[in-house]
């Protein structure tokens, strides 16, 4: 299950309604501007965000706010919104060990946890079955 934590905020400082994380098929992607592999998988996430019946939500992990915003400005923003997890508290409760990591959450239940990059092959092998 998704951990519950008070006061999740996005990169704009707006409070996030926890329900938005547990409604339908949500891909939670852990990213950071300091993370090179995140940059590698970024185009694939952008592609995903246009296709499947799926909401992609980012978890900005232990990052600097302005660097995170710059990163999205430069590389595009595939996320509906990103949770600003400055200290990594929310990620820690999820069981994140680093970035990038990706969770597939269906109606609030974690059905898949991928540690490391996702690309077309990983998607076909591990995620496709849920759609």
């Amino acid at each position: 299950m998704l951990p519950s934590i008070q006061e999740l905020v996005d990169l704009n400082g707006d409070i996030i309604n926890e329900r938005s994380l547990s409604n339908g098929k949500v891909l939670l992607n852990v990213w950071a501007s300091w993370c090179i592999t995140c940059l590698v998988e970024h185009p694939f996430l952008s592609k995903l965000s246009k296709g499947e019946d799926l909401i992609i939500i980012g978890i900005n992990y232990k990052d600097d706010l302005s660097k995170a915003k710059n990163y999205l400005d430069e590389n595009g923003n595939p996320y509906k919104f990103s949770i600003f997890d400055y200290k990594g508290n929310y990620a820690l409760k999820l069981g994140v060990t680093g970035a990038p990591e990706t969770f597939l959450v269906i109606d609030g239940k974690i059905v898949k946890h991928r540690i490391g990059e996702i690309n077309q092959k990983v998607w076909n092998d591990e995620f496709k079955a849920f759609f």
């Binding site: 232990k62 409760k93 069981g95 060990t97 680093g98």
Partner: protein
């Protein structure tokens, strides 16, 4: 006092100052529990080795969290259970899954090789 000793002292001071900062709210008994728990929880990033011996940021986070959980009144079993639910069974170093005594493998290999060598080299008396 020469320079070497001076630096040693500074290092020692920094270490003490840091450890104080991290876990100063824990009692002696709670610190022992913290050490026991972090000795028996695997660092999820390093695959081998426990949280207490690892310098990975995630290990520090986990150790801090264990300290918080201890302070919040969780028992050792509850903390192990929580970590297991979060990271999977492999996070427990004494999960009982790999009880196979791996240190016996060289001994077994030695016995097999002695048997193999002796059967092929020692000639039977005619």
């Amino acid at each position: 006092m020469n320079l070497k000793h001076f630096f040693k002292l500074i290092t020692l001071f920094c270490l003490l100052a840091n450890s104080e900062l991290l876990y100063k709210n824990l009692s002696e008994e709670q610190l022992i529990r913290l050490n026991y728990l972090s000795d028996n929880i695997r660092c999820p990033k390093c695959s081998y080795g426990n949280v207490s011996s690892s310098n990975a940021p995630i290990s520090k986070d986990i150790k801090n969290e264990i300290a918080t959980l201890i302070k919040d009144g969780y028992s050792d079993d509850e903390i192990f259970e929580l970590m297991k639910n979060r990271y999977g069974n492999y996070i427990l170093l004494n999960s009982g899954e790999d009880k196979m005594p791996i240190y016996l493998i060289p001994l077994i290999a030695l016995i097999i090789s002695i048997l193999a060598v002796t059967t092929y080299t020692i000639k039977k008396p005619k």
